[in-house]
Symmetry: C2
Subunit: 431 residues, 2 copies
């Protein structure tokens, strides 16, 4: 098994708050086997020795909600009211998406994500075989799910569900375990109750978690009450969704009682601050969720509502907005924001061996070039990561013990080809 | 006079909303003399011809409030309550600052700013000769002012004012006009009324504008009412501050009546969203200020409360926060955020020839590398600048017709020496 030593680096292990280790890390195969101040074995015992001088090593970022193929709609109809944006811009374009569009849109997003330090992402979309193949080729980690919308005739509902189950079954555990899967009713407002119940049953049958959008806008919550006589949390609880391990995206409009229910069922919440701000959905009650002990993580949502896939920005927004809005400068400290973007992200999607740098964990980590003005002085590197860094500071990326980005270049995908094919897809779509 | 042609580029001129020009731009000496689709003269007439393929050219960013030397305090005591942060962290360190600290702290910030596309900045600090010399050496544009705090004996007040006047007189118009100056009472809560009146008189005598902090926190506004029986706007109005052209920083806590007074006197407001969020000061009423016709621009404030000096981030925050907080997805469109960071910034500090790419304007512009995933598809470049770009996308920077950054490297300052000296300063300061 290949044995790699990284020496002379600064390491943020996430194990102890606010601490960084000046020293070295050893990777054997796909695992971290040592992290500490001293080199544990003679140099000649290693197959690869890397000089980590001027580099900051940290766990790879975990993006717990998105639709990668929608990079094809980046900047396509911004600054519009939500319904006009959806009905006149997003949906007509998405209706035209073929598997080729999903292929190249997803590959472009994966390029952006891995070069920017994201080592794991959650994706909910259509034509998911293309997404799974892109994850396999890229070397990154993906938690994938065919999102189903149930506003269609019963036979179409049935065939979508069958497709979602087949995808989930076929790809779960593939790519050396880098791919896992979930089942996804798109949202309470796009799936009739009986269809949600069938999806829950399928998740039970396959023993998989559920991922869904929930309580993103005030209007959605009001609509749910009008249509079903209950707010989304009670509605999904009643339909048995929370009887499965569940990750909900957004959770912007929640009452105290709803937060208590989420905690009771250990439902995980993917907080998407950039998307929620851009679409004017509101500001989620992140401090209250955390105080209640709900497991929260961060997602970019798609590039159509963000508009980049920079997880450093999501950590920074999580740390900044809630201070400004609550008036409490201690609302979300840098250390907490960093955990939201790494370890809590991994735990939220049931990846227990990801998100920490310590022996026994998967070797999913990234290196930042800290020989730059905005990383000085060498005071508090957790603060610098959250308040000062960006995707473009990432130079090296390792997932499952394999390097997938080196010196800012992607080693696994053909960047030029992806950009070219992506532009051809967009030109065809815009017609 | 040197004549430069940039061809095959995409240009955001700021002249017409949402429009980009695919074509070329000509620079003669310090001015732009042409922008358009066709090359106006035979190639052999140019001293320099630059291929702008895959580059997006836009006006340089204008940062209208900051304290550059405070980069020495980046990450030094984050996530603390405001008074503890100020009293136990910032002030004791700042009290130790020598002119050497200001020299190297400022130079590090200038490096970060120019490499990140900021071509003009406002600086209010002490030891301002060092700041002016740094601006002169860097090639960037600076609007500089010795900020005076009046909580000291009368003779110290007098000597500070004299020093501020001498600095303002000596440096106004220097460095080929790249440096202009202002007079600055630090804030209504740090300067007694009679001292503010003396500073206003000095600004009249020197015919210079005034820059001050105002209405940053709720507590400051309440304190002003307690101490002087008036909110800060009425207080400064009464002291004659607004009889001079004035730029105030922050303006977070303003009533409708106060906004009307600012409009009446044409007082300009530097909106500092990142700093206001991080220090939990609140969210300024930017949409209302703009609707009232107040001239607003963007500032980073210092790296101690931001923690970087990335003006793309301030444009993005301005575009995002107000949507999320007001619930209106049209609150601050990308086009408006871009103007806040460029043309309105320049107008706010009385630089009428900066902030647009058109004939007759100063050649202050930057180039972004758009051959990257997060700039695709080639839809709306204004949207991509505001919602997707970051400081590190900047590759070339030109100020006053001279290149100061090329391919991401600073041409005017010695980066390695600055980083080294900066670290020595920090090591000495932290003791």
């Amino acid at each position: 098994m290949k044995k790699t030593l990284i020496s002379n680096g600064i390491f943020i292990s996430n194990k102890e708050a606010k601490s960084s280790i000046k020293g070295c890390m050893v990777i054997e195969g796909s695992q971290i086997t040592y992290i500490g101040e001293e080199i544990p074995e003679p140099i000649e015992n290693y197959d690869e020795v890397i000089d980590g001088t001027n580099k900051l090593y940290m766990p790879g970022l975990v993006n717990t909600h998105g639709h990668a193929a929608m990079s094809l709609l980046r900047g396509y109809g911004d600054d519009l009211a939500l319904q006009i944006w959806l009905e006149e811009k997003m949906w007509p374009m998405e209706a035209k998406f073929t598997s080729q569009d999903v292929k190249w849109g997803t590959r472009l997003s994966i390029l952006e994500m891995i070069k920017g330090g994201t080592t794991t992402f959650v994706d909910m979309y259509d034509h998911m075989n293309e997404v799974a193949m892109a994850v396999e080729d890229s070397g990154m980690r993906g938690v994938l799910t065919r999102g189903v919308i149930g506003l269609c005739p019963p036979d179409v509902q049935t065939s979508k569900l069958k497709e979602a189950m087949e995808f989930a079954k076929n790809w779960h555990g593939q790519a050396n375990g880098r791919i896992t899967t979930m089942m996804s009713p798109h949202a309470p407002y796009t799936c009739p109750p009986d269809y949600i119940e069938r999806i829950v049953q399928a998740a039970h049958d396959l023993d998989l978690p559920i991922h869904t959008h929930m309580s993103e806008t005030r209007r959605e919550v009001e609509g749910n009450v009008e249509q079903y006589g209950a707010r989304p949390v009670a509605h999904l609880e009643k339909l048995g969704v929370f009887s499965r391990p569940t990750l909900v995206a957004h959770g912007v409009h929640l009452t105290d009682e709803e937060i208590a229910i989420l905690k009771q069922y250990d439902v995980r919440v993917s907080h998407n601050p950039g998307s929620n701000l851009k679409l004017a959905s509101g500001v989620a009650r992140l401090p209250e969720l955390l105080r209640a002990g709900v497991k929260v993580s961060l997602g970019t949502d798609s590039a159509a509502s963000n508009n980049n896939l920079d997880m450093f920005e999501e950590m920074r927004l999580a740390a900044l907005i809630h201070k400004g809005v609550t008036g409490d400068p201690l609302a979300i400290p840098a250390q907490e924001a960093l955990l939201l973007g790494t370890r809590m992200g991994a735990e939220s999607i049931w990846l227990d061996k990801v998100g920490l740098l310590e022996p026994g964990m998967k070797a999913d980590f990234i290196a930042l070039d800290i020989d730059q003005p905005h990383f000085l002085p060498k005071t508090d590197f957790v603060s610098h990561i959250v308040y000062s860094a960006c995707a473009k500071d990432v130079v090296d990326v390792c997932v499952d013990g394999s390097w997938i980005v080196h010196k800012g270049e992607c080693l696994t995908l053909d960047e030029e080809k992806i950009k070219r094919e992506f532009e051809l897809c967009f030109d065809r779509l815009k017609g």
